[in-house]
């Protein structure tokens, strides 16, 4: 089954760098994660006011997916129910949980509360792109390329998805790393086979 699946695009955001399909697209020296994410939004001239309301995890995942799904992705080739998301990270929504906890001491913030689950990032992406397929978010100690490869291949094998975005979206304070990839069944120019090694290689591009 895996030989029919391809990584047709990838995007990583880490260490002040944005990489798309192995090429560096943006870099600056901003040390504050939130300000760096806003600088990416501004650099790519994205226009989605809801972005500013998102927590940092959602901002990071939304930006990575936005850059991942540029003009090369033909959304119209798929039904909304055929496009899935499988993400993972280490800290869940802890970055926002901590901020929310601070507000609870006085008046709890509803806007922060709604982001105290890590899977909300997938909701933001689905709202943006009108995806209605499988959504899964896993919490691991570290990036597990083998698990993601096996799990996503199973989704294709069972017909649950015909396209799927997977990866790692981690942020805690100013430590962040997003590495996402698009899996499709059709081979495109420069596509990589959907293997554990290739997923790991994409992750390593921005993780030393």
């Amino acid at each position: 089954m895996t030989e029919n699946l391809y990584i047709t695009a990838s995007c990583s955001i880490a260490g002040n760098v944005v990489v798309k399909d192995g090429k560096k697209l943006f870099e600056n020296a901003e040390t504050n994660a939130q300000l760096f994410l806003v600088s990416i939004y501004q650099h790519f001239a994205l226009n989605y006011p809801r972005f500013y309301k998102m927590d940092n995890l959602a901002k990071l995942g939304w930006l990575a997916t936005e850059i991942l799904l540029d003009a090369s992705f033909s959304k119209q080739d798929y039904q909304p129910e055929e496009i899935g998301l499988v993400f993972s990270n280490r800290s869940g929504s802890l970055d926002t949980d901590i901020k929310y906890y601070e507000t609870v001491k006085t008046i709890a913030s509803p806007a922060l509360f709604v982001y105290t689950l890590p899977n909300i990032v997938m909701g933001e992406i689905c709202i943006r792109h009108h995806f209605k397929g499988e959504n899964d978010f896993f919490i691991f100690d570290r990036f597990d390329a083998g698990f993601l490869q096996e799990y996503m291949a199973h989704l294709f094998a069972t017909g649950a998805v015909r396209a799927c975005i997977g990866g790692w979206i981690e942020i805690l304070d100013n430590d962040y790393h997003a590495s996402v990839f698009l899996i499709e069944q059709k081979k495109k120019e420069n596509a990589l086979l959907f293997t554990e090694e290739n997923i790991h290689h994409i992750y390593q591009i921005t993780h030393g």
Partner: protein
């Protein structure tokens, strides 16, 4: 009333993270929800928090919400009525 409305516009932009909106761009009578400023149900809760934090006013009757949060002017009028 003008000063209060000006303060409210600034506070709404800050509290709701409307970084794409300048306070002075919000009209006094512009609807805050749906076709106006485009706020949603979570923003409504944040406006309730704003009233409580900034003006020490609690919205006791939830049914008053749509009327109070219709525009900056109706919010200001509500604040003034609660202060009276």
């Amino acid at each position: 009333m003008d000063k209060l409305m000006s303060d409210l516009k600034r506070q709404i932009v800050e509290q709701l993270n409307l970084q794409h909106v300048k306070p002075e761009e919000i009209g006094d009578d512009q609807p805050l929800f749906v076709e106006g400023l485009g706020l949603d149900s979570i923003d409504a809760l944040e406006l309730i928090v704003l009233l409580q934090q900034q003006y020490n006013i609690k919205l006791n009757n939830a049914e008053d919400g749509p009327k109070v949060f219709q525009s900056v002017r109706t919010m200001a009028a509500y604040i003034q009525s609660q202060r009276a």
